[in-house]
């Protein structure tokens, strides 16, 4: 029963429809954005399903309405490295592949059952012609993501395994129950064994 309660508290109410998001950003009623949504496809994917794999071009930017995605690579010695997680309300794509029409070198995979909106390449620019504030919002999102990446680089350059884990906790503490620890370890740049030890130490101290 406890499990069930937690399930609903953690996963239940968290969904953010794309049309709603767009209407909010443009500050217009939902009905006003409907005409633009013809180009948007929706897709459900199950846990562990892949959206893109290395070698194929990534045709969309994925907006997560429900669930969590991760983007990762596999290096020369077979180890996975998580580049990014994307929970509800986040965008994820291999920009290099989408922008430059190159084959991707990443996997994008569902780590929970997901509802996605598939945003085609020029969707933003098209709508921005009528609603310039969308491009500004996009600029803001990109800037925020750059801040996040710079912060992550700083941590990878200077912080210990424990410090990185604590930093993740402090920023995404609710999120931590939704990713397997071995993926979190990969995101933090440490082995699952090391993360296990770090958590063990912290539990004692």
């Amino acid at each position: 029963m406890q499990d069930l309660i937690e399930h609903f508290e953690n996963y239940g109410p968290k969904t953010l429809p794309f049309d709603q998001w767009l209407a909010d950003v443009l500050e217009v009623p939902l009905a006003t954005v409907q005409p633009f949504l013809g180009k948007i496809q929706y897709r459900k994917v199950e846990k562990n399903e892949f959206l893109i794999m290395p070698g194929t071009v990534c045709p969309y930017t994925y907006y997560v309405e429900r669930g969590v995605l991760r983007m990762y690579t596999i290096d020369g010695s077979g180890k996975e490295h998580v580049i990014q997680f994307a929970p509800e309300g986040w965008y994820i794509t291999d920009r290099k592949s989408t922008y430059l029409d190159e084959p991707s070198s990443y996997f994008i995979q569902a780590i929970e059952d997901c509802d996605l909106a598939l945003i085609p390449k020029h969707f933003l620019q098209d709508i921005s012609k009528k609603y310039p504030q969308l491009l500004e919002k996009n600029t803001f999102i990109l800037n925020r993501y750059i801040m996040l990446l710079q912060h992550r680089v700083t941590l990878l350059l200077s912080a210990t395994a424990e410090e990185r884990y604590l930093d993740f906790l402090s920023t995404y503490k609710d999120f931590i129950h939704r990713v397997p620890l071995y993926m979190l370890a990969s995101y933090l740049g440490i082995t699952p064994e090391s993360l296990s030890r770090v958590r063990n130490e912290l539990a004692k101290g």
Copy 2:
């Protein structure tokens, strides 16, 4: 990544005045952009001079016309960590500080004598009202920078000191003579001693 290489080949050792850059992006004659430049200040800084230091708000985005800047932090144990280099034609700023009016936690310092254009906070948005293509260009620049950061994260997660050095060489080979090795080491997330050993090994092998 090809873009970046081209970028450096095009703009690397020369100088690129800001007004010229703006006219090129807007695809108008130089004279047309003159009226907008009233809000731009220009500044020369000497090698080792600081533009911002931790605790102060970063009021501008700096466009480098000539020279090289670096942005870095100092961690709890006194070690420097280089977040970014910016040679000619590049923009640099602590976005978090500029966007959110927070005190910065970074240093921005000249590592060569520099000519800079100081871009105030809302300059882009203002001009974009008349020339929307500027916002699109900005979006492209931000996306390219995100690709670069993701690539760097991937390397920090998965690559050895030697692999990171070789990657830097392959992308910025001309640039390497313009930064002291200890700053490059810091950018790569290794010690100067380790970088020295890596270079020594490569020279033999």
